[in-house]
């Protein structure tokens, strides 16, 4: 599903963010990506989201070479991946319902089908009664769920969640993880979750990839350690 081969990223200002990353994530996997600030987590997301092009190597998602996408094709690619942003990125002048609907409108889905789907996903994230509220009328957890609803509305093959529990208390964080697990099970969506929250990583055990200073320093299966090099050669 996601395959990074020898990927390096150097920004224009000379900052090296990733060094020679090799990574394979299979369909319907649920993976944590952990690491300190500046370890390259955000860059990894930007590469997968087509915001940035790799300086070296290939980023392949669902058979598409993301780095080679032309500017005009990027939007079509993005419809296959849902991203839950740390800063939510909700449209402030649209209601929750309209925000989720917008993600479907861009694909020119039939209006009736689109509305039906919006109701479905709002139900799934338990936000139906807030559908006519504007983002600034919602709590952090509610906004987070609205963003998740928007991200999964298109039934993406991959869901990338950037610190989805960053602004929430432990109880709310647990709810979000359970929601993501539900999506992972029910929609068979591959989930990549970037997090700082070691408590969550320990509580809800999943495959965990640790980044540090632009290198993958560990790739742990639910049970124990797997060095990323050996894991890669096994694939």
């Amino acid at each position: 599903m996601i395959k990074l081969s020898n990927v390096s990223k150097t920004y224009k200002n000379g900052v090296n963010a990733l060094y020679n990353i090799n990574l394979f994530i299979d369909q319907s996997e649920f993976v944590y990506i952990i690491g300190p600030t500046g370890s390259g987590k955000s860059t990894l997301i930007r590469l997968l989201d087509a915001e940035e092009k790799p300086t070296k190597g290939n980023v392949e998602v669902a058979g598409i070479n993301v780095g080679l996408l032309r500017h005009g094709k990027v939007p079509y690619y993005r419809r296959h991946i849902g991203v839950v942003f740390q800063d939510f990125k909700l449209l402030e002048r649209k209601t929750v319902f309209e925000n989720v609907l917008y993600a479907l409108e861009i694909t020119h889905m039939k209006p009736l089908d689109a509305r039906q789907r919006v109701r479905e996903v709002l139900q799934l994230v338990d936000l139906s009664e807030k559908s006519s509220h504007y983002p600034d009328q919602l709590s952090g957890g509610q906004q987070q769920r609205a963003v998740i609803a928007r991200a999964i509305a298109n039934k993406p093959k991959i869901l990338i969640a950037d610190e989805p529990t960053g602004n929430l208390d432990p109880k709310k964080s647990g709810e979000i993880i359970k929601l993501l697990e539900k999506i992972n099970h029910e929609e068979k969506t591959t989930i990549l979750m970037v997090t700082h929250d070691i408590g969550i990583v320990n509580q809800f055990k999943k495959r965990t990839i640790a980044l540090e200073a632009g290198h993958i320093v560990a790739d742990m299966a639910e049970g124990g350690y797997i060095q990323h090099e050996s894991h890669h050669s096994a694939v």
Partner: protein, 298 residues
């Protein structure tokens, strides 16, 4: 169907939700189009006046007394054959005297005694030329013909006036062109400002997977609406203002020599022009501005 209706709906909503910004854009369009309208009125009327003066510029040719009727016919034919001559009218001594007397009104009566054999005036031709600029060369050519006593034309002054008006009109055209350009710049800038405040919105739309066309369409519709709304006041000012001025002045400026352009259909054409200008400026302004911001994000 939804693809067509959606941008319109979103465009309207955008216009209303950003009312303050929309209002300043509409004002910019309004003021500029009003100025453009004033200059178009001025330019068109100068053109009209020039034309009416040019039409009245005539050459007055006096024929020597020893030229008899067949010779006069020959002269008339050779003048008619010249390039740029529209009309040649023969006016005999008696007619000339009548006109002379008429021109002096009451006092002209003392010239009544010159009627008949004692008439000191000459037979004459009155020549109308196509273009005032050729009046000088035609006069010289007529003067060289045999049997011509003298050639006068309705004043070097008239021609100078035509020249002056022509240059006023030309600078009017340049000014209108310049103002149009200024309007485009001003409006593009206002729209750019209103879009700048929504740069965040645009980036989110692109992140979610909206294509450039999808993001741009409502903004462009909004721009067109702003242009259209901005054109309404100038159109009304033009139609009613021009009508009022025209009627107040009786269709002329100072004297019969300066005839103004009739109100209809001129104001309609002017209105079309203003609406078209407003809409296209709104369209291009918003299109260019949004596209610039879309390029920022991958």
């Amino acid at each position: 169907m939804n693809r067509i209706i959606r941008p319109f709906k979103e465009g309207f909503v955008g216009l209303i939700r950003h009312l303050a910004m929309s209002f300043s854009s509409i004002m910019a369009v309004m003021i500029t189009l009003t100025i453009v309208s004033l200059f178009v009125m001025l330019t068109v009327n100068i053109q009209e006046i020039t034309k009416s003066i040019e039409a009245k510029v005539q050459i007055h040719v006096q024929i020597k007394n020893d030229v008899e009727l067949p010779g006069i016919g020959e002269l008339e034919r050779s003048i008619r054959a010249m390039d740029g001559v529209v009309e040649v009218v023969f006016s005999d001594k008696d007619k000339e005297l009548n006109q002379f007397i008429d021109a002096y009104g009451e006092e002209g009566k003392i010239f009544e005694m010159y009627r008949g054999e004692k008439n000191p005036l000459r037979n004459a031709f009155i020549i109308e030329v196509e273009d005032a600029n050729t009046i000088d060369s035609i006069s010289k050519r007529v003067e060289r013909l045999d049997g011509i006593e003298s050639v006068n034309y309705g004043g070097v002054n008239a021609i100078k006036l035509v020249d002056i008006l022509n240059s006023v009109r030309d600078s009017g055209f340049i000014l209108v062109g310049f103002l149009g350009f200024l309007a485009l710049f001003l409006i593009a800038n206002t729209i750019k400002m209103s879009i700048h405040s929504r740069i965040h919105e645009i980036s989110i739309m692109r992140t979610i997977g909206a294509t450039n066309g999808f993001i741009r369409a409502p903004f462009v519709i909004e721009g067109i609406l702003i242009g259209f709304l901005g054109a309404i006041a100038p159109v009304l000012i033009s139609i009613f203002g021009y009508q009022y001025l025209y009627n107040a002045m009786g269709g002329i400026l100072l004297s019969n020599l300066f005839i103004l352009r009739p109100v209809f259909p001129f104001v309609y054409y002017l209105s079309y022009l203003l609406v078209l200008l407003g809409i296209s400026v709104g369209l291009f302004g918003s299109y260019i501005s949004v596209t610039r911001y879309l390029r920022v994000y991958r």
